[in-house]
């Protein structure tokens, strides 16, 4: 009589980069269509992974479809390279693909991120993969997903504009924080994923490729390089990023980078730059620090999207 062990197929290990050939090929076909139609949500057959849906499976599948042993991978979670989620995803990708890893955004060829875009400007042929919990920007105004798709097909975004107007009437400002809806290439409204408003302008006319993927919703979309991405705004009520003027990073002394607010016992708060990889590079550069002299050939801190005075690098984009 056969045993279960005999009947079970032998352990042949994993496919390269975990996903099987069919899964990768399907994802790759979808990625090409997403690039060809910026902002349009392309459906795909989201596969099971050894992490739960909602923990970055969409981004991870896209990363696994792209990654190779010649890649240098950076994984960030809310700006941090060292969060549990980021560390586990990075370790998984590195094990499954044999890729090198880094915390330096300028050195990475492939950056998977949850809810942040690095402070340093990304360059041509870098790929940013954003994890997306909800890809549908019309969800708040149209719960029926079939109707929402029809609205995208007809470029019918009137309800979305109306919801922004209602916020202005009720609160005197647009109350949306993360996932601020954007018009891509003058046609599709997309959710930029729950990045803060601070990061939304970084998608406009960027040199790098951005891929956004929602594993649970089985949708992926793209912002190709040098593509117009405009947050929805009224002519007389311009889009605004978070007002963090006067906030200073307690670790670097820098201002005008996106900060985390750290409440203190007894009241008050201190601030630190959210992008930990950037902070790491800045601290290495400080000449008084002992480590500076002993650290060989550290990469220079690259140009940032916002300068030290808080000006965005594309003149006139933020009014």
């Amino acid at each position: 009589m056969s045993t279960v062990a005999e009947l079970a197929s032998s352990n042949r290990g994993y496919s390269y980069a975990f996903l099987d050939e069919f899964a990768k090929r399907e994802l790759r076909r979808r990625i090409l269509k997403a690039i060809a139609i910026p902002g349009y949500q392309v459906p795909y057959a989201s596969r099971e992974l050894p992490i739960a849906r909602g923990w970055g499976t969409g981004g991870l599948q896209v990363t696994l479809a792209l990654v190779g042993p010649d890649d240098v991978v950076k994984v960030i979670d809310q700006g941090a390279d060292d969060s549990v989620n980021a560390a586990n995803l990075r370790r998984f990708i590195a094990r499954m693909a044999g890729a090198d890893t880094t915390t330096d955004a300028s050195r990475a060829t492939l950056i998977q991120s949850r809810h942040r875009i690095p402070e340093e400007r990304l360059q041509e042929h870098q790929t940013l993969v954003l994890q997306v919990p909800d890809p549908e920007p019309l969800r708040s105004v149209e719960h029926d997903i079939s109707k929402a798709r029809l609205m995208h097909a007809e470029a019918d975004y009137g309800l979305l504009w109306l919801s922004l107007y209602e916020q202005l009437v009720r609160y005197r400002r647009v109350t949306l924080g993360a996932s601020y809806p954007c018009l891509v290439h003058h046609r599709y409204v997309m959710s930029p994923s729950p990045i803060p408003r601070w990061d939304v302008p970084k998608l406009h006319q960027s040199a790098h490729l951005t891929l956004l993927s929602a594993g649970r919703e089985k949708r992926l979309y793209a912002v190709p390089p040098y593509t117009d991405v405009r947050p929805l705004e009224f002519a007389d009520v311009p889009f605004r990023v978070e007002d963090q003027r006067g906030w200073m990073c307690y670790r670097t002394g820098l201002q005008n980078k996106f900060m985390n607010e750290l409440p203190q016992t007894g009241g008050g708060a201190i601030y630190e730059i959210s992008d930990t990889g950037f902070v790491e590079k800045v601290l290495r550069k400080v000449p008084d620090r002992e480590a500076a002299g002993s650290t060989p050939a550290q990469a220079a801190v690259g140009a940032t999207y916002y300068d030290d005075e808080g000006r965005f690098y594309i003149d006139g984009y933020l009014r």
Binding site: R25, R29, L32, A97, E124, H185, P224, P225
Partner: protein
Amino acid sequence: MLGATATYSHAEAIARQAFLALMWALSYPGRVRQLPPSRFDEDDFMLFGRALLDPETSYFCPDGSLAARLARHGAKSRSVASAAYVFLPRLDEAALALVSEVRLGTHALPDEGATLIVGCDLDAADAPEIVCSGPGIEGQVRVRIGSVPLAFWELRRQMIRYPLGFDAFFVHRGRVVGFPRTTQAEVA
């Protein structure tokens, strides 16, 4: 763990590198990119097949010999009007007539627009310059694509009603240029 369980085989490497070439060709339209060399005695079209085709998708090719070789990837052979991938080794008058029949997607599903893989001559110094602009292009980029009749560019302009349209790759001797439907192409 990696060494024992996940081998980056040559087949895997070729499929991935071919895909990356296509991805960057589409991301930066009008720029010539290198396709990876294949040890499998494959021409450029078969390399496309390796990267993109399997039983989940469909293709059309008017060249019987190439069509038979592409069939090895398991994709369904369909008419030009319903195929997802249309392989045109030569863009002569007959092929141009086929282009006018490719599927363009619908407003609900624009991603169902076909992808064309077209043979061309990227070394033709006397070919007219194509001036490209649109997403993926900083300002303008110019490229010469020989063995493509001027009528193709006019036909493409007439057929693409964004977001409806087709996407095209032009291939020649291990090189590829991408033209997504978003690219505006004008003959200089």
